[in-house]
């Protein structure tokens, strides 16, 4: 093979490689998108049985129960309409707390309990010092101001 056709081969392989990588990335992304369900959809029976999928929602206040001496934790997830009980064994992200938005990946068992293999926490787009957040919370509870989103 001469220099020129070898170079053409290289370009072709490269375009092919980038193409494959993009397709793989998009497929993975599509799958995550397709298998994402809210607690309401799970209650309506739309979520698949015997298949791993994701559920997103807020951790219900006061629902988190940790088992003594193990990493097992149980909590409830809500989309403010329906509630799904979740169990997970492992290390939770630092942002995991009651009221936080999270995404859990796992399967639903026959009793309607979601057994998670992975729990990821989502944070919002607000950045502020703790004192400001406390002040906003206090003001919010006193009913003086509405959204704590803009500072």
């Amino acid at each position: 093979m001469n220099k020129r056709s070898r170079r053409k081969m290289l370009v072709a392989m490269l375009v092919f490689g980038v193409g494959i990588a993009t397709v793989l990335a998009l497929t993975a992304f599509e799958e995550n998108l397709l298998y994402f369900y809210s607690p309401t959809q799970i209650h309506a029976g739309e979520a698949p049985q015997n298949r791993t999928f994701r559920v997103g929602g807020l951790v219900v206040d006061g629902s988190v129960r940790r088992e003594q001496g193990s990493l097992a934790v149980q909590f409830e997830l809500t989309d403010n309409a329906e509630v799904v009980p979740v169990t997970f064994t492992g290390i939770l992200p630092d942002l995991f707390r009651e009221g936080q938005g999270i995404v859990a990946m796992g399967q639903i068992d026959s009793n309607g309990l979601f057994v998670a293999d992975e729990v990821l926490a989502k944070h919002d787009e607000n950045y502020m010092p703790p004192e400001v957040a406390d002040a906003l919370d206090a003001a919010h509870e006193a009913g003086k101001t509405g959204m704590p989103t803009t500072y």
Binding site: V11, F29, P93, L95, K122, N126, Y151
Partner: protein, 245 residues
């Protein structure tokens, strides 16, 4: 007018002019970055949810902004080179690619190091992360086409076409957090109402973004000078210039 553009955009003229600008861009980038880091680490308060870990924002967000900005500069330059055959435009496009790839890499790596403690994972295939990874592939594709095609005009045509087609990815990256259900947060600074970030955190963030932009300006000129020398290596002005070195 056309003759004026031709003269002004000749690699020879550019080589002389750019030498005077580089030290100013580089020095201001350094000073602004140092001041931004000082404010970011010593003045900005910790975040109410993320504590000290959020300080990664001061490099993550500017790098991510620059990864998209440099891509647009590269694609527009490539288009100018393709349409009007202005050689300097192709030089700028080719010189932008490795810098843009570096910013993309920084955005991905710092995002990963931020995601682990906060989200609980180094990587997730969500729309924002995936589209940013595709941006890195686009830069690599451009650079590979430049490196592998011997004939410079063909290389500029092929890689320029890739750069222009790849522009569709830029709005996808920006709006991914709105169009899809992502783990990545929505926009903090660039949303239409007031940015939802405390002013003491916002100022270092904007300073670091300015420093990154000045760094890009300095480095794209340095690289473009090399590129101009290389592309004109058989022309008289380069021969005369090199003999004096």
């Amino acid at each position: 007018m056309w003759a004026w553009i031709q003269k002004f955009s000749s690699p020879k003229y550019f080589y002389g002019m750019s030498a005077k600008l580089i030290p100013w861009f580089a020095l201001s980038a350094l000073l602004i970055a140092l001041y931004g880091l000082y404010l970011g680490f010593f003045v900005a308060p910790p975040d109410y949810q993320q504590g000290e870990s959020y300080r990664i924002i001061f490099i993550h967000v500017p790098a991510a902004w620059m990864s998209m900005f440099v891509y647009v500069v590269m694609a527009v330059s490539a288009a100018i080179g393709l349409i009007w055959q202005i050689r300097l435009a192709d030089v700028i496009a080719a010189s932008s690619a490795p810098i843009g790839a570096s910013f993309t890499f920084i955005a991905l790596v710092t995002g990963s190091l931020w995601g682990k403690p906060m989200w609980g994972t180094y990587w997730v295939w969500d729309a924002r992360l995936t589209s940013e990874l595709i941006l890195l592939f686009l830069y690599f594709g451009y650079m590979a086409l430049q490196a592998s095609i011997e004939d410079q005009r063909m290389a500029d045509k092929a890689s320029g076409l890739l750069a222009i087609v790849g522009v569709v990815n830029i709005p996808i990256i920006h709006y991914s957090v709105e169009w899809w259900n992502t783990l990545h947060q929505g926009a903090t600074v660039t949303k239409f109402d007031k940015p939802s970030i405390h002013i003491d955190m916002l100022i270092p963030l904007l300073l670091m973004a300015l420093a990154f932009k000045l760094f890009y300006l300095a480095m794209v000129l340095v690289r473009a000078r090399n590129e101009a020398l290389y592309r004109d290596r058989n022309r008289r002005w380069v021969r005369e210039l090199v003999e004096k070195l």
